[in-house]
């Protein structure tokens, strides 16, 4: 079963607006990461938040983590057309005995100029 689930599956906004994507997961994690994918090819690492952190910023990105609710959110402020992409959350599961990230199915973001 999927460890991480992004919500919504698709999001369409006007340029300049903020975009918020959510991720829920099932089991305890070491860290949670967000990635961006353009045109169905390689993913680009955006930000990593550790299980003992609650909020992290990087440029126009803001990530929050609520381990009690097993959820995270990614906020992109002042969106641009170039932000159009699919966004994935990925979790590093605690004690799984395997050091691999588990990815959700992604949120497809469209920013309309």
């Amino acid at each position: 079963s999927q460890q991480g689930e992004e919500d919504p599956q698709a999001l369409s906004i006007q340029e300049g607006e903020n975009a918020t994507m959510n991720c829920s997961y099932k089991t305890s994690i070491n860290n949670l990461q967000w990635y961006r994918q353009n045109s169905g090819r390689g993913l680009v690492h955006l930000i990593l938040i550790r299980s003992n952190e609650r909020e992290k910023h990087s440029g126009r990105l803001r990530v929050t983590l609520d381990t009690s609710k097993k959820s995270s959110s990614l906020l992109i402020t002042a969106s641009r057309a170039a932000d159009t992409a699919s966004y994935f959350c990925a979790t590093d599961v605690t004690g799984a005995g395997s050091y691999q990230l588990t990815f959700g199915k992604g949120t497809k973001l469209s920013v309309i100029p």
């Binding site: 999927q2 070491n30 860290n31 990461q33 990635y35 169905g40 090819r41 390689g42 993913l43 680009v44 690492h45 990593l48 994935f88 990925a90 590093d92 005995g97 395997s98 050091y99 691999q100 990230l101 588990t102 990815f103 959700g104 199915k105 992604g106």
Partner: protein, 113 residues
């Protein structure tokens, strides 16, 4: 190298043929991962290497799939007797250690006809 390099970028093969996909990770990255992404889907974990050894092969879908890594560097994913359901984008990623974000290659789009 400066990034993770995958070759070929596209591969069309006939059903029943064997294919080899290559991944050149970032120099010095000890961890290497293979994932598969079907159209519009999330990433499916295939195998993880730490150095030349593969502690976790749990994601390989069948015994037609195998992978190796030599010299702690280049990795090859081999699919024998390809089937149409093997059609997907195969993504390779590397990281400095297991606790850091991944750097992905651009992937190999495999089409089995």
């Amino acid at each position: 190298g400066a990034g993770v390099s995958q070759s070929p970028s596209n591969k069309v093969t006939e059903k029943g043929k064997d294919v080899e996909l290559r991944c050149d990770p970032i120099s010095g990255h000890t961890a290497l991962y293979w994932y598969r992404q079907s159209l519009g889907q999330g990433l499916e974990f295939l195998i993880y290497f730490q150095g030349n050894s593969a502690p976790d092969k749990s994601g390989l879908p069948s015994d037609r799939f195998s992978a190796e890594r030599t010299g702690g560097s280049v990795s090859t994913l081999t699919i024998q007797r390809t089937q149409q359901e093997d059609s997907a984008v195969y993504l390779c990623a590397s990281s400095l250690t297991v606790i850091y974000g991944y750097t992905f290659g651009s992937g190999t789009r495999l089409t089995v006809v």
